[in-house]
C-alpha cells in the first residue's frame, strides 16, 4: 500500500502546488465578498471615484453606515426577509416530502405508467421560468390566489419538484430492492417502508435537494414580481435589486443590500456546512 503521508521531496512539492491552487480558488471566492463588504461602507460617490480603496481613504469622504440605514428602511428589509424565510422554508419542506415520496414510487413501485409519469415530472427541468410566466400568472389569477403567499408557494414548489424528483428517484434506485422486499415479507406497509427505511437512507439526497431548493428560491426574483403586487408580499431579491436601475445604480445602497441579503445564507451555510458538504458529496457519487 502506498504511503499517503509520504515525506519525499516530490510529495512536498505536490503538497505546495495543491495548497497554492486551493489558496487561489479560495481567493476567487472570498475576495469579491470582502470587496463587496468594504464598498458597502462607501457612498456611491466615493465608490465611483475609487473602487479599490478602503472606505474613507478618498480625500473628502469618510466611511459611513448611511447605506445600511437607508437600504434597511427604504428597502423594507424586515418584511422581505420574513417573506423569503416563509417561501424558502415552505418550499423546501414540501419539496422534500413530495420528492422522496415520488422518488420511492418511481424507483421501487414500478408499473407500466412509471416511465410516462416519471418523464412528465422530469421534463419540467427543461422549462424556463420565462416560458411559463404568463400562463402561470393567468392560472394563479383564475384560481384566486394572485397576490397571496400561497399563490407564490405553490408555483415555487412546482418549479422545484422536477429536479428534486429526478435526484430522489436516481438515489433511491441505488438502494437495494432486497431491503424493500425483506420489509414487505416482514409485513411492513409501503408507507412504513418509506418512513422507516427509505427516508432515513435518503438523507444525503435530501440534503442535496435542500441545497438546490434553498439557493434557487432564496434568490428567485422574476416570479415573485409577477405573482404579487403588494410590497408586503415580496421577497429579499426584490429589495436587493431595487437599487440597480437601467440608467443609474446607487452602488452604496446596493452593496449594503447585498450584504444584508448575504448574511442569512452565510449563517445557513455555517450552521449546516457539515451536512451540506456530505450532501453534495453523496449527491455527486450516487445521484
Amino acid at each position: 500500500m502506498a504511503n499517503i503521508q509520504s515525506h519525499s521531496p516530490a510529495a512536498k512539492v505536490g503538497k505546495v502546488i495543491t495548497y497554492s491552487v486551493l489558496l487561489v480558488f479560495s481567493c476567487f471566492a472570498v475576495v469579491p465578498l470582502l470587496w463587496l463588504f468594504m464598498n458597502s461602507f462607501k457612498t456611491t460617490q466615493e465608490f465611483m471615484i475609487d473602487k479599490l480603496s478602503l472606505p474613507g481613504q478618498t480625500e473628502g469622504y469618510s466611511a459611513t453606515l448611511v447605506n445600511y440605514i437607508d437600504a434597511w428602511t427604504r428597502g423594507k428589509f424586515p418584511t422581505l426577509i420574513m417573506n423569503s424565510v416563509i417561501y424558502t422554508a415552505g418550499t423546501v419542506i414540501m419539496v422534500e416530502v413530495l420528492a422522496i415520496m415520488a422518488g420511492f414510487g418511481f424507483a421501487k413501485l414500478r408499473c407500466k405508467a412509471t416511465k410516462v409519469l416519471h418523464g412528465s415530472f422530469v421534463i419540467g427541468i427543461l422549462l424556463t421560468i420565462q416560458c411559463i410566466m404568463v400562463p402561470l400568472f393567468l392560472l394563479v389569477n383564475a384560481i384566486g390566489l394572485y397576490n397571496s403567499r400561497l399563490g407564490v408557494l405553490i408555483p415555487y414548489i412546482g418549479i422545484s419538484l422536477p429536479m428534486a424528483v429526478y435526484l430522489a428517484t436516481e438515489y433511491i434506485k441505488s438502494i437495494p430492492d432486497a431491503l424493500v422486499e425483506s420489509a414487505r415479507i416482514d409485513g411492513a406497509s409501503y408507507f412504513g417502508i418509506l418512513a422507516r427505511i427509505i427516508a432515513p437512507m435518503a438523507k444525503p439526497v435530501a440534503v442535496t435537494v435542500a441545497i438546490l431548493t434553498v439557493s434557487s428560491i432564496w434568490n428567485e426574483f422574476m416570479l415573485i414580481n409577477i405573482l404579487t403586487s403588494d410590497d408586503a408580499l415580496k421577497s429579499l431579491p426584490v429589495g436587493i435589486n431595487q437599487f440597480a436601475g437601467a440608467l443609474t445604480t446607487d452602488y452604496g445602497k446596493q452593496f449594503a443590500s447585498l450584504v444584508i441579503g448575504l448574511i442569512p445564507m452565510l449563517a445557513f451555510y455555517l450552521v449546516f456546512r457539515k451536512e451540506i458538504t456530505k450532501g453534495v458529496a453523496a449527491g455527486a457519487v450516487k445521484g
Binding site: 457612498t43 456611491t44 460617490q45 466615493e46 465608490f47 465611483m48 471615484i49 475609487d50 469622504y61 459611513t64 448611511v66 437607508d70 427604504r74 428597502g75 416563509i86 422554508a89 415552505g90 419542506i93 414540501m94 416530502v97 420565462q130 410566466m133 404568463v134 400568472f137 393567468l138 389569477n141 390566489l145 397576490n147 397571496s148 403567499r149 400561497l150 408557494l153 412504513g192 418512513a195 422507516r196 427505511i197 427516508a199 432515513p200 426574483f221 422574476m222 414580481n225 409577477i226 403586487s229 403588494d230 410590497d231 408586503a232 408580499l233 435589486n241 431595487q242 437599487f243 440597480a244 436601475g245 437601467a246 440608467l247 443609474t248 445604480t249 446607487d250 452604496g252 445602497k253 446596493q254
Partner: protein, 455 residues
C-alpha cells in the same frame, strides 16, 4: 426501526408546522380591502426606480400628497422596476386585466400596450379640460400606437456631451466646433495623459442611444425614419454607412477608447469627475448622477465645479451633415389610463385626475428640483423654481441645453427592438474591428426588410 419512527415523527411535525404557515401564506393582500369606504379605488402599476438619485421622498411628495388633496380616491399602488416591470405589463395584458393607471413608455418598450390600444387616448381629456396649451407641443405628438397613450413627464435628450473645461484649459484647448477640431485635440490630450470621450460601451444600447442616434440624425436628417418607412432611403445608403464610418473613425483616431467596450454603463462618470477625461458622452439623465445626492450629502461635481468647469454641448459639426446643432431625443415616460375603464364613469374621472396630477405643476416641479426630469408642463416656471430652490448650476445648464438644441429620433425609440438590436451589436462589432461599416449596414438592412415583411 426506532430511527425510522424518529424520522416519521420529524416529517409529521414539519408538516404540522407547515399547515399554519400555509394558512398564513394564504392571507390575501391589503389591496383587496381598499374600496369598501365609499372611495374610488384606483389600481396603479408604477415604475419605482429607487436607484434614481434623490428619489427617496417620492412616496410623501408625490403619492401621499395626491391622497391628501383627493380624499375621495384611494390608491393601490404596485411598485415594480426593471425587467419584471415589462414582464408584468405583458402578463396583465394577456390576462385582460390591466391596472387602472399604468406607467409606460412612448415607444418600443411599451409596444404591446400601444399596439393593442390597451390604454385610452389622452388628447380628448386634455382638450376637454383646456390643457393642451399647458404642455410643450413636442410632448403631445402621437406615440407608437398613433395616439397620445401616455402624458409624458419630460423630453429626454439621449445625447449630451459634458465638457470638462479644466482638462481643456490644461491642454490649451477650446470646446470643439467641428469634427476636425475634435480630431486635432486627440494627440494633445493623449500627450498630457487625458482620455477624450468617457463612454461605457459594454452595454449594447449605450453607443447607439448616446452617440450614434445623433450622428445618424445629422447625416440622415430629422425625418430619416419617416423616409425609411416610406421606402425613400435604405440603411445601405450613404447617410447610414457614413454614420458608421464616422464611428469607426472615432475608434481609429482614439476619440473613443476600445477599452470602453469592457466598461459597464455608468462607470466612467467617476473618472470624468476626477479630470481623467475631457468629455463625458451620456444622456441627460447623467446630470442627476453628477449632482448632490440628498441621502449622502455628496456630489461627484460640487456646485463650484458645475458652475465653472462643466459645459453641456452636442457632438461637433460633421462634414456633410444636413441638420445642425441637434441632439437625439424622445418623449419621456408617463402615465396612461386603462382602456377597460368605462367611458364617462366616476372611475375614469378619478384616473384622469391622477394622470393630470402626475404631470401637473406640483409633481413636475418636484422632478425638476430632484434632477429627475425636465418639465413638459409649461406652467412650471423653470427659472423661478431654480432660483427659489437654489438649485445646482447643472439644472440651469440643462435648461439652456434644451433651449439651444433641436431633436432627431433616438434609434431604439423608433425602430423595433428586432432591428435596433442588430444596430447595437453591429456597433460593438465595429468597435472590435470584426465587421466593416458596409457589412453592418447590410445586416441592418436585411433585418429591416425581414421585419417589414412580417408587418
Amino acid at each position: 426501526m426506532k430511527k425510522g419512527k424518529h424520522t416519521l415523527t420529524i416529517a409529521l411535525a414539519l408538516l404540522l408546522c407547515l399547515v399554519p404557515a400555509m394558512l398564513f401564506a394564504g392571507g390575501s393582500s391589503e389591496a383587496t380591502a381598499a374600496a369598501d369606504d365609499g372611495k374610488i379605488n384606483l389600481t396603479v402599476l408604477n415604475y419605482r426606480d429607487t436607484s434614481a438619485t434623490n428619489s427617496a421622498n417620492e412616496d410623501e411628495v408625490v403619492w401621499d400628497y395626491f391622497l391628501e388633496q383627493n380624499p375621495d380616491i384611494s390608491l393601490t399602488i404596485e411598485n415594480i422596476f426593471g425587467e419584471p416591470f415589462l414582464a408584468k405589463t405583458e402578463a396583465y395584458l394577456a390576462s385582460g386585466n390591466l391596472p387602472d393607471v399604468i406607467y409606460m413608455w412612448s415607444g418600443g418598450k411599451s409596444a404591446s400596450v400601444h399596439q393593442n390600444h390597451a390604454v385610452k387616448d389622452l388628447m380628448p381629456f386634455l382638450e376637454k379640460d383646456g390643457l393642451v396649451d399647458d404642455y410643450n407641443p413636442a410632448a403631445l405628438v402621437p406615440q407608437y400606437g398613433g395616439y397620445l397613450a401616455e402624458l409624458p413627464e419630460g423630453i429626454t435628450a439621449s445625447h449630451m456631451i459634458f465638457v470638462n473645461k479644466t482638462v481643456l484649459e490644461d491642454c490649451g484647448l477650446e470646446i470643439p466646433e467641428t469634427l476636425d477640431d475634435l480630431l486635432a485635440m486627440v494627440p494633445v490630450l493623449k500627450e498630457k495623459g487625458y482620455g477624450v470621450f468617457a463612454m461605457d460601451n459594454m452595454t449594447t444600447w449605450v453607443m447607439q442611444s448616446t452617440l450614434v442616434s445623433t450622428i445618424v440624425g445629422r447625416l440622415g436628417g430629422a425625418d430619416w425614419y419617416d423616409r425609411l418607412v416610406a421606402g425613400e432611403i435604405d440603411f445601405t445608403d450613404d447617410w447610414f454607412v457614413d454614420s458608421l464610418e464616422l464611428v469607426e473613425l472615432l475608434y481609429d483616431e482614439g476619440v473613443i477608447n476600445r477599452n470602453s467596450l469592457q466598461s459597464t454603463y455608468g462607470t466612467s462618470r467617476g473618472p470624468f469627475a476626477l479630470n481623467q477625461y475631457a468629455f463625458l458622452v451620456d444622456g441627460d439623465w447623467a446630470c442627476s448622477s453628477l449632482m448632490m445626492d440628498n441621502t449622502t450629502g455628496q456630489a461627484l461635481l460640487s456646485r463650484e465645479r458645475q458652475e465653472n468647469d462643466i459645459e453641456l454641448i452636442v457632438f461637433p459639426e460633421i462634414p456633410g451633415e444636413v441638420v445642425h446643432d441637434t441632439t437625439s431625443g424622445t418623449i419621456g415616460t408617463g402615465y396612461a389610463i386603462s382602456a377597460d375603464i368605462e367611458e364617462g364613469s366616476a372611475k375614469e374621472e378619478a384616473a384622469w385626475r391622477l394622470v393630470k396630477y402626475l404631470q401637473g405643476e406640483h409633481v413636475q416641479e418636484y422632478r425638476l428640483v430632484t434632477g429627475q426630469a425636465f418639465p413638459t408642463n409649461l406652467n412650471v416656471d423653470v427659472d423661478k423654481v431654480i432660483e427659489e430652490n437654489n438649485l445646482e448650476p447643472l439644472v440651469s445648464k440643462r435648461a439652456e441645453f434644451y433651449n439651444t438644441y433641436s431633436y432627431t429620433p433616438v434609434i431604439d425609440d423608433v425602430l423595433s427592438s428586432e432591428v435596433a438590436n442588430v444596430i447595437d451589436i453591429g456597433l460593438q462589432e465595429l468597435g472590435l474591428g470584426s465587421k466593416t461599416p458596409v457589412e453592418v449596414a447590410q445586416d441592418v438592412q436585411d433585418t429591416w426588410e425581414k421585419w417589414l415583411d412580417k408587418q
